[in-house]
Structure formats: C-alpha cells, structure tokens
Symmetry: C2
Subunit: 294 residues, 2 copies
Amino acid sequence: MQATLNSFLDENKRFIQQELYNALNQIDIPQNLKESMLYSIEAGGKKLRPILLIASFDTYGDDKRNIIAPAIALEMIHTYSLIHDDLPAMDDDDIRRGKPTNHIVFDEATAILAGDALLTYSFELLATDSYLTDKQKVFLIRELSKASGPRGMVAGQLLDMEAENKKVALEQLERIHALKTGELIKFAIKSGAYIGNATEKQLEHLDQFAYYLGLIFQVQDDILDVTGNQEVIGKPVGSDEDNNKSTYPKLLGNQGAVEQKEKYVQLAKKALHNANATDSYLMMLTDYFSTRNH
Amino acid sequence: MQATLNSFLDENKRFIQQELYNALNQIDIPQNLKESMLYSIEAGGKKLRPILLIASFDTYGDDKRNIIAPAIALEMIHTYSLIHDDLPAMDDDDIRRGKPTNHIVFDEATAILAGDALLTYSFELLATDSYLTDKQKVFLIRELSKASGPRGMVAGQLLDMEAENKKVALEQLERIHALKTGELIKFAIKSGAYIGNATEKQLEHLDQFAYYLGLIFQVQDDILDVTGNQEVIGKPVGSDEDNNKSTYPKLLGNQGAVEQKEKYVQLAKKALHNANATDSYLMMLTDYFSTRNH
C-alpha cells in the first residue's frame, strides 16, 4: 500500500508541476514578474493540496482533464499566501523549503506583485478553462474565493498574527488553523468530489473529513517543529517557540498532542466511511498526513 | 448638461458607497481586517470606475440590479491596488486623497492582508450574486481577472516601477498606462455594455473608446500634477517629478500634452459615435475626464 501511495504522490506531483509551468509559461507576463511567480511555484513543495483534490476526485470520478484547472488554481493560491506570509512586514522569513524566500531573491515590491498576480490569475484560469461548464466554474470560483478570502485563509493569517505572544485556548487555536490551512484543504476535498459527481450526502461527510484532516496536518506540523529533523523538514526546528506561537505541544504537552492527533485520525476515518470512501487514496493520505516526517 | 452629469455622478457615487458598505459590513470578518478594508473603501475617491460601468450599462440596458455586483467588485479591485501600491516597498505614499494611507493608519501587515482580502472578495461577490446568470458571472470574472492580473494592472504596476528614473518613449508610456489604469477602465465600459446587452459590434467600438478614455484620464492626471492645485487634487503637486516618473508633460511639454489629450478626445468621441452612443453619459464623461481639475 505504501508503494501504491508513493507512486500516486510522485506521479501527481510531477503532473501538477508540469501543468503549473505550462499555465504560467505560455502567457505574456513581464519577464521579472514571471520569473518571480515561477520561482515560488517551482521552489519544491509537496503539492499536497492539489494532490488531495485529485485524490478526492479519483474516489468518485474519472475524466482527469476536468480537475487540471482547479488543481493548479489551488496551488497558485497556496503559493501566493506563502509569498505574502514570508514578507518582512508579516512573518519575516528568509528561508522556505530550504531556499531563500521570494522577496530575498527578487525584492519586496516584486514579491507583493507576484503574490497578487498568482491570486488573480488563479481565478482567470478557472474562468477560462475549456473543460469545465459555466456551472462548475461558478461553483469552483465561489468556493475558492470563500476559502481563501476575508472569511477564510486571510482571516486565519490575521488572527494568527494577533495571537502571537499570547496564550490562546485550544478552541481558538483550532479556529485559527481551520481558517489558515483548513479552508484550502476543505476546498481541495470538496471540489475534487464535486467535479467527480459525488452526491450531496457524500459531500457533507467529506466536509467533516476535510475539517479533521486539516487539524491532523496542523498538529503534525507543530509536533515536527518540536521533534523534527531540520534537514528533513527544510526549516529551522523550534521556530514556533522563537515566534512565541501557540502550538498543540505547548498547550497539551508532546504526548497530549500525539493523543489529540490520534483522536482526529479516528474522526477523519469515520467521516470517510460515511462518505463511502474507505477504499481510496484519501484513506491512505490520512495516515500519511499523521505520520509524515517533513 | 453639466447639471445632468453632476446629479448622475452624485447619485451614483452615493449608491456605490452604500452598496460597498453593505457588501462588506454584512459578513463575518475579523474586526481589524474589516476596519482596514472599510477604511480604504470609504476614504473618499470619486468612484469613477464603477460610475463608468453604470454609464456604459445605462447606454444600452435598464435593470440596474444586474450591475451592482460588477460595479462594487471593480471598486474593490481598484481599492486593493491603491493599498498595495502605497506600501513602503512599492510607491511608499503616506497620503492618499488627503488622508493617511492604509498602512499608516493600521500597519503594513494588515494593509497587505486588507488588499488581498478585497481582491479575493471581489471574485466571491461576482460568483455569489443573485441576479446574474452563470454565463454572465463567468464573463465578468474572466474579464476582471484578465484586466487586473499579471497581463493587466499588475503588469502595469511592475513596468511603472521599472520605468522610474528612466526616460521612456511615448509608446512605452502609453503601454504602461494602458495596463496600469486602462485595463480596469476597459473592463468598466465593456462589462457595463455587455450586461446591458450591447451587440458584438458595439462592444468592439466601446473597446476602442475605453482605450482612449484611459489615456485621456492619464494625460489629465499628469497635467494636474504639474499645474494643479494641491488642495483640490488631495496630493502633493510635483510628486511625479520627485519620483522621476515619465509623464506626458515631460515627454511632450505642457502644451504638447494638452494637444495630445485633445487628439485622444476626438478619437474617443469617434468611437462612441460608431457604438451608437453619442447620446449618453459616456459622451459627457469624456469631456468631464479631459477637463477635471482633481
């Protein structure tokens, strides 16, 4: 099973990288802006969000051409958010995935514009795709803009910054993560299944699944920041501590964080069962997310 | 005629301000983010882009409910671009329309996020509107994302920064303005007429009209920066000179700039004639744009 998942991950990572490159390279963008956009798009990363979208689609549907635009639009939104989050005025990070961040390689102004451009272009891609119907396009644009906008990811980033140097309760920590990373994961799961023609009922259970999967992802991220190997995870271990961030290990202790994660894994799998999706890559990805070491 | 135009401008400015406020105020956004978004939305401004959209719609159509979402989405995109352009890493402006800029009142991080939020929410508004059909939504989202993205406004901002401290030819200056301000003006004219059910032929002529209108707007902006009254225009006179920007007066002399503007006015009016739109607010707005003193 591990071999099956690994080849699914490798194959789709390459597929998404190629489609991202094609989408950006073919259009007429000022040279410096294009290079800055491509730099962050190509700077490694596991492409987990579009892979989740494909895995969710694969559980119900079969014509893969329909999910190219949503998958790469999603990765563009994720990439823009990393570029802006790394800016000096935000988290002020010089290194991301073991490489200098966008504003270090280019400059701040170009990094801001590259983020704006990726964000805007993701909607253009969805609106101009040749395979999706107008109804599907409107669904995807609505869900993606909600997930990433002022009631979604952007709200999460603001609340996360406001929570620095403060002790926050578990409930508030979950709210921040649900907004900051969970909303895009929900979009991936929901829109993949929607394009694959899942039923309304299945979509509801997948929404639950996606919620827990997002939390699993985050708890593991926090755990790795305490116990991980810097060379493997590609960023300094202990950076959450340095930034005075609220984390699961800090709130619950290391052992408590692991137990909380196990609780989420059980709830995620139960939701998958209800969505008739136990025999799927989503099931394998749940274990993968909870045990990953980078 | 001046009285007619003035009441059209006043009435629609109030209408748009109210609709913008309603759209933002009714949704659940973290307090600080909402205040930052509303601050720049409400910080004066003539709402010229949405007014152009309404004027273009009014030339051909009549059910005004259809153009609320496009008009306010357009103003949100324009506002986001001002917030990001004013940032220290970009144009570093402390004052805009006579008031402190967003990052001065809030902070840089909040200003970046408020811009991101307005940009993203503009697409959500279009995708969730109750009056537009899916076909119209896809048209509007496609045109708005093209106009404001890496082949439109964002490209213009990048090229504009690159052109600072350089002498550029008239052709390059026109290209920068066409991207930086012209694309959104084109969107306003084109999508207003499209929602009003203008013919394909009329839309083509309006595209020409919008191109010249954008240039008229820009030449007059440059002229006002040299000859204008600081109290009336709400920003320091001579700031282009200070920033070493290429302008029409610098390239053509003051008299040459005025003559160039007159040439554009004639071409704009000819295009309106071809679009059966001589008896319209668009005609009055052409003169208004070329003679405005702020």
